[in-house]
Amino acid sequence: MDIGFIGQHLVNGLMQGMIYSLVAVGFTLFFGVLDVIKFSHGDVLMVGVFAGLTAFFGLDALGIENPYILVIAIILFSTALMALLGIVIAKILILPLKGAPPLNILLITLMLGTLLRESVRLFYPNGSNSKAFPAILPTDSFTWGNFSLRLDSVMLFVAGAAVIVGTYTLINRTRLGLAIRAVAQDEETARTMGINFGFIVLFTFALGSAIAAFAGVMNGFYYNEINFSMGLLLGAVGFSAAIIGGLGNLYGAILGGFLFAGLQTLAAAALPFSSSYKDVFAFAVVIALMAWRPTGLIAEKAYARV
C-alpha cells in the first residue's frame, strides 16, 4: 500500500473525527447538565451551516473579498446565531419540560429537528438542492511523494482542536465550568451553593449549539457542499460517539468521535468493493461495542464527567 493512499485516508479520518467529536461534545454537555437527549442537535448544526452560507452571500454582496474576514465572519455569525437558537430551544422547550418523562423531551426535540430541516428545505431559496459551500480557504499544498496535504485541511484541523481544548479548559479550569460540573452531579445541591441553575442550563445549550455550528461550518469548508439533511447523519454519528464514550463524559465524547471516524476510514480503506459501506460497518461495530460495554467505553471517571 502506498503512502499517499494511507496519508489521504488518515487526513480524512482525522478531519471526520474532529467534526464528530465536536458534535458529540454537545450531546454530552446537554446530557450532563439536564439528563436530556436533544435529538435536534444535528439539525441545529445544519441550520448553523446555512446561516454561515447566508452570511457569506451577504458579505459577498457588500463586495468583501478578503478570505480571512469572510471565514471569520461566517464562523462568528453561524456560532453566535446557533448559540442564540440553543438558548431559545432550552428556554421554551427543554426547561419547561423539566420533570416530564425523558421520552417526551426526546420526542419533542425529534419533531423540532424535523421542523428545522423541513423549514430550510422549503424556505431557504432552492433549499431542497445541495449548495456549494464557499472554498475560500487557501488550498496550497505540501507534497511528500504522492501524498499531498492541503493547507486548508491543516487550518480546519487546528481550529477544531483549539475549540476542543478551549471547551475542555472552560469545563475543567474555570469557575463557570466548575458550576456546570456541579449542576451535572447534583442539581439541587448546586442550587444550594448559590448557582443559578437556569443560567447554567442556558449557557450550556448556547455552548453546545455554537460548537455544533462550528463543526458544521468545518464540514462545509472541508467538503464544500452542504444540504438540508446533512444534520441527520452527523447527528446520529455524534450521538453514537457520545454514547460509546459514555454519555456525560467529555473525554469519552472526543474519543468516541475519533473512534467512529477511525472505523469509517478503516472500512473505506480496507473494504475493496465500495466505500459506501463505511457507515454500515462503523455503526455495526458501534452496536457490537454497546453490547459489550453498555455504559460506554470509559468507566465514569470523576472530573471527566461534566
Binding site: D186, T189, R191, T192, M193, G194, F197, A302, R305
Partner: protein, 238 residues
Amino acid sequence: MTNRTGLIVENATTGYDSADVLYGVSLNAEPGKITCLLGSNGAGKSTLVRLILGLTPARLGRVSFNGRDITRMQTHKVISEGIACIPEGRMVFSKCTVEENLLLGGYGEKDDALLTKRMKTVYDLFPRLAERKQQLAGTMSGGEQAMVSIGRGLMSEPSLLIIDEPSLGLSPLLVKENFKIIKEINERGISILLIEQNVRQTLAIAHYGYVLTQGKVVAAGTAQELLKDETMHAAYFG
C-alpha cells in the same frame, strides 16, 4: 413585623405532588443564636429547609430574612441574601476535589483573595482537609466528607447557616466533635438553624428550639424550657 431580623417563617404550608407535609409552620431563627428544630423521621424538617431555600416553594405562608421577603425567591437569590446550608447526607460533589467543593461553597463570592482567605480559615478548622485538597470528595471517608460539607457551608461567610442532621451516620465521638464545631461557628457570630434528632446534645448547645411532629410545630421554647416540656417528652421520650 418586617423590621424584625433573622429568619422568620410564618404559617408555611407545603408538600409534594403526592401529599402535604407542612401545615402552617411558624418559626424564628434569631440573629447570633443557635435555633434548633427537633422532630422524628418524616416529620417534615428537611421539607422546611427546602421551603426556606426555595427548592420546594411554599403553598401558603411567608418566609423573610432580615426583613426581606424571600418566599418566592429563586434558590440562588436566597443564598445571596446570606443563607448557607449544610444539607442532609452532606451531599458533597463526589467527582470534584475537596478544594473545588470549597470553591463551590463560596460560589457567590468573586474575589479570589477573599476566597483564598476563607479557604485558609476552613483548613485551620479542619487540617485534615488541607492535606487532601486535591482528593476527590467522593473517595473520602464519611467523617471527612462531613468536614468538606461543613467547610463548604462556611465558604460564603453566611449570616445564617442551616445544618440538616449533621450527626447522621457519624460515630458518637465524631458527633460530639461536630456539636463542638457548631458551637464554635456560632461563637464567630453566625446564626444557626440546626435540624437534629439528637435531643440532649442539641439542646445542650441551642438557645431556642422547636419541635415538629407530622408537619406541625407542637412545642417551642428555650432549650431549658424544652428539656422540661411535657409535649416534648411525649413526642420524644414517651
